[in-house]
């Protein structure tokens, strides 16, 4: 069970990494428009709107 001494801190570190990644993605505007990109990918036209 000593592996827990590694795994539990590791999970905490991971949680912080995920939190940091999320913070970055919010900051870079990825959550500003949750609908637009879904429509944009269906649009046949490759040229910018």
């Amino acid at each position: 069970m000593e592996i827990l001494y590694l795994l539990i801190p590791l999970s905490v570190v991971l949680a912080f990494l995920i939190g940091g990644a999320f913070w970055w993605s919010v900051k870079s505007g990825q959550f500003d428009d949750l609908e637009g990109p879904a429509h944009r990918i269906i649009a046949d036209d490759d040229s910018p709107p």
Binding site: M1, V12, F22, K27, F31, D32
Partner: protein
């Protein structure tokens, strides 16, 4: 802090900007941020050398000192917010006067509307009002919580706009003269911050639950060394939740306590803070019970609710951010009129009384003034609701916002910018909106009582358990605070509103103000405007009566031939008609009609009196053709040929809407600025019994106020700036997406597109929403009535309490979301009942 205006600065020694190099690493004196190395922004303050991170901070500090408010720096508990840049603040003084944000009330009084950032609750509005009122020179302040706007009036001899803005910044808020673009950026910042807080809490919640699970699952407890490890891991994960995610709750709770009032955030902060400190203590001393799971779950669920609510509120407002100014941004000023006709382009707001401007044909008049040269017709629909252009000649007044139709005009400016009639109507509406009584106060007061009672119960529980079983005191008290968290109660209304707003938004009905749905559900009387609301606002050919040798079609053919090449609305109404003969020698007589030769015969088409001059015969008895419409006659030299009726056509779906609303038991009224006969005719074809014509904007407002005095809740459907005051006066106001921008701004609900039938659907949803809110509140109260006694008796563990609270909240949210799922009304149902236009037959009008 509140009476800092009374403080007089002791040391007033002049010591301004000097280009000394920085000596020690001080934080910025104003905003507390780190200074760039070797900052050149330094000044002597309170007898000591102070360093600033930027010119903006320095400038603000100096202005504060100049206003005698240096005590702010001694009394503040946290550094001020860092200003965006120096210009952002000081520039407002000069720019405000020219751009029209600052309104001259009289020689010394100034007034402006500010958008306040950081307003969370009624306490914030209260704090801002009180603090600003105590500023020297500020005469009156009114903060609208729903729109987050402040109307500030001040004495220009005693203070300035920048000082007002700084005063607001000093108490931790920010204010901007209203500007849609800024508002958008603000909304984005708010949304991102809340989203990050929520995500951090959710992430921590999942992981902490994981760590807590062994404790719940193992029958004989987790071994102590692992228990400690899990405890520390949970502590590390819960820390950001408490310090970052829950920070706003603590901030608001602190403010509530400082103001000696009870808000929803007080028990939340107490519960979260108390449970976290106790758990941390238990982990550090390796002795006691931990509640990290309950804490994180509690915060995460609370934030989820707030985020959903914020998102729905912002979405509804987003479509309105693209409001274009009604006035043209620039004007062509004739610098040396009448000697030369050279023009220079200036900002419309920079125009001054006496300036002479050229208004091109098709352009918007930039200021109120008087025509000095040129003949044309101007359309003042935005101001008067009247769709017919008014002919103008030298000496006639023209108003800002009206459209010059035919040919260029030279106009001498009488009133510009905020002094124009248009701007005044706009402000009237804004003031009405700002001074609307706050229904929300009642709900806040009820919540405050609930919270106060709850805290007393928690305190009594704590004392009771302390006396009987001290080891259980914390767990039970926390359970009481958590289980009774007024979440369900506080979610009951906003989630239902958010869901309804979302459902309506998807079908093209935008709810702009929070109270709109509630007011819609209560509305008993619906008042309609005519032009552009019940009617399309376009002029159409309604009827033609042939009087002479020519038949109907021939009359139309001649008329449309005569009107060829004209931009008059009548010409446009005829343009879709038959192919026409060729015309020679066409002359248009402004305000009267057109004259021309077809196959050698002279025809006139226009105002009957003018047409009559051609042949001199008595007008025919054709009054029954279309009494409400505008009559235009066609004749040749031998006599009358045809009698045309032009008018506004009823919007499709109006009949169905009127029938629908009447069957729901609503009283309907038509108010119009048009002639009484026109209004009556439209009312008749729409099926509205009560009608009032010739109503000026003030009359409309008074009519609604009269209804309200009789205790009736009034919904107003309108369009046009002249309706703005009436829209603001009504309990709830609706406007069509094609309505002028200002009306849209003033109204609580905007129908996108032209389908007026959606109003019936909006009313139905509003009523369902009220129903669901009542269900939710009933549930929340019933839940608390059962859960609180259980918690007080110690039968609930904190986790069970957290689960119970969450389940209750989720139930409330799920119930509210029903509103979004089964949209119980089909807007399309109505569109196939394209009805009874005034049509080609004279009978309907």
């Amino acid at each position: 802090m509140l009476d800092s205006s009374s403080t007089v600065l002791a040391s007033n020694s002049a010591a301004l900007l000097s280009r000394r190099a920085a000596r020690a690493e001080q934080p910025c004196f104003h905003c507390g941020n780190a200074n760039p190395p070797g900052t050149q922004w330094t000044a002597v303050f309170d007898g000591a050398d102070r360093q600033f991170c930027c010119g903006g901070c320095l400038a603000i500090a100096q202005t504060i000192r100049a206003a005698g408010l240096t005590a702010f720096y001694a009394r503040r508990t946290a550094p001020a917010a860092r200003p965006g840049s120096a210009e952002d603040w000081l520039g407002y003084d000069a720019a405000g006067e020219t751009a029209g944000w600052i309104v001259r009330v009289d020689a010394d009084l100034r007034e402006t509307s500010l958008l306040l950032e950081g307003i969370q609750c009624a306490a914030c509005a209260w704090l801002n009002e009180e603090y600003l009122k105590r500023q020297a020179g500020v005469v009156a302040v009114s903060v609208n919580l729903a729109t987050r706007r402040a109307l500030v009036r001040w004495d220009s001899r005693a203070t300035r706009l920048s000082a007002v803005l700084r005063a607001i910044a000093a108490i931790g808020y920010r204010a901007y003269p209203y500007d849609p673009k800024r508002r958008e950026a603000l909304a984005k910042r708010e949304r991102r911050a809340l989203l990050t807080r929520t995500a951090v809490a959710l992430l921590a919640m999942m992981q902490v639950m994981m760590f807590a699970l062994p404790g719940y699952l193992s029958a004989d407890g987790v071994e102590p060394q692992f228990q400690a490890l899990l405890g520390w891991a949970s502590l590390v994960l819960t820390l950001p939740v408490v310090l970052y995610s829950a920070a706003p709750f603590f901030r608001r709770a602190l403010r509530d306590l400082r103001l000696m009032r009870m808000g929803m955030d007080v028990p939340v902060a107490l519960g979260v803070g108390g449970a976290f400190v106790a758990s941390a203590w238990a982990t550090i001393t390796a002795n006691g019970v931990v509640y990290y799971d309950s804490v994180t779950m509690f915060v995460a669920l609370l934030l989820c609710g707030r985020y959903v609510e914020l998102r729905a509120r912002q979405k509804a407002g987003e479509a309105l951010e693209h409001v274009a100014p009604e006035l043209p941004a620039t004007a062509e000023r004739l610098t040396a009129y009448p000697r030369e006709l050279t023009t220079d382009v200036v900002a419309a707001v920079a125009l001054q009384t006496g300036d002479v401007v050229r208004v091109a044909s098709g352009a918007v008049v930039p200021a109120d003034g008087e025509v000095v040269d040129g003949r044309s017709s101007v359309e003042e629909r935005i101001l008067t609701g009247e769709s017919w252009p008014r002919t103008t000649a030298p000496g006639d007044p023209v108003l800002a916002g009206s459209i010059n139709r035919d040919s260029p005009l030279i106009v001498r400016v009488r009133k510009a910018g905020p002094a124009t009639a248009l701007a005044q109507i706009a402000r009237l509406a804004e003031r009405a909106a700002n001074e609307r009584p706050r229904l929300a106060k009642l709900a806040d007061r009820a919540a405050a009582w609930f919270v106060a009672t709850l805290l007393l119960i928690a305190l009594a529980t704590a004392i009771g358990w302390w006396l009987t079983d001290p080891t259980q005191t914390l767990a039970v008290t926390f359970a009481v605070l958590v289980v009774s968290c007024p979440c369900a109660l506080s979610l009951a209304t906003p989630t239902a509103l958010a869901a309804a707003v979302g459902a309506l938004g998807r079908s093209g009905v935008l709810v702009v103000r929070g109270h709109a749905l509630e007011a819609l559900a209560r509305a008993r009387h619906v008042v309609f405007d005519k032009t552009g609301t019940l009617t399309t606002g376009d002029i159409r050919l309604i009827n033609v009566v042939a009087l002479g040798s020519h038949d109907r079609d021939a009359c139309i053919a001649i008329a449309s031939a005569l009107e060829q090449g004209s931009t008059h609305p009548i010409a446009r109404a005829l343009s879709g008609h038959w192919a026409s003969p060729t015309v020679d020698a066409v002359t248009a007589v402004l305000g009267s009609g057109v004259e021309g030769l077809i196959d050698g015969r002279r025809y006139r088409f226009g105002r009957p009196q003018w047409v009559q001059e051609l042949h001199g015969r008595a007008p025919p008895d054709v009054n029954d053709v279309a009494p409400a419409a505008t009559a235009v006659a066609l004749a040749d030299e031998s006599g009358w040929l045809g009698w045309f009726a032009f008018g506004d056509a009823l919007r499709p779906g109006v009949r169905a809407l009127v029938d629908d609303l009447s069957s729901q038991g609503l009283a309907l009224t038509l108010l119009s600025g048009d002639r009484a006969t026109t209004a009556a005719s439209v009312a008749r074809s729409a099926g509205i019994a009560q009608v009032q014509g010739d109503a000026r904007p003030e009359d409309k407002r008074a009519f609604i106020a009269g209804l309200q005095q009789g205790g009736v809740s009034v919904a107003m459907v309108g369009d046009g700036v002249n309706d703005a005051a009436a829209l603001a006066q009504a309990d709830v106001s609706l406007s069509l997406g094609s309505a002028s921008d200002l009306a849209r701004w003033t109204s609580d609900v905007v129908l996108l597109g032209d389908d007026i039938g959606r109003i019936a659907g909006a009313l139905a949803i509003a009523r369902r929403t009220r129903h669901i809110i009542l269900q939710n509140i009933a549930w929340a109260l019933a839940y608390n009535a059962v859960a609180i006694p259980l918690a007080v008796s110690g039968a609930l563990t904190p986790l069970a309490a957290a689960v119970g609270m969450s389940a209750s909240s989720l139930l409330v949210v799920a119930n509210a979301l029903r509103l979004g799922r089964d949209a119980a009304w089909a807007p399309d149902r109505r569109s196939d009942v394209v009805t009874a236009q005034l049509g080609s037959g004279g009978a309907t009008s």
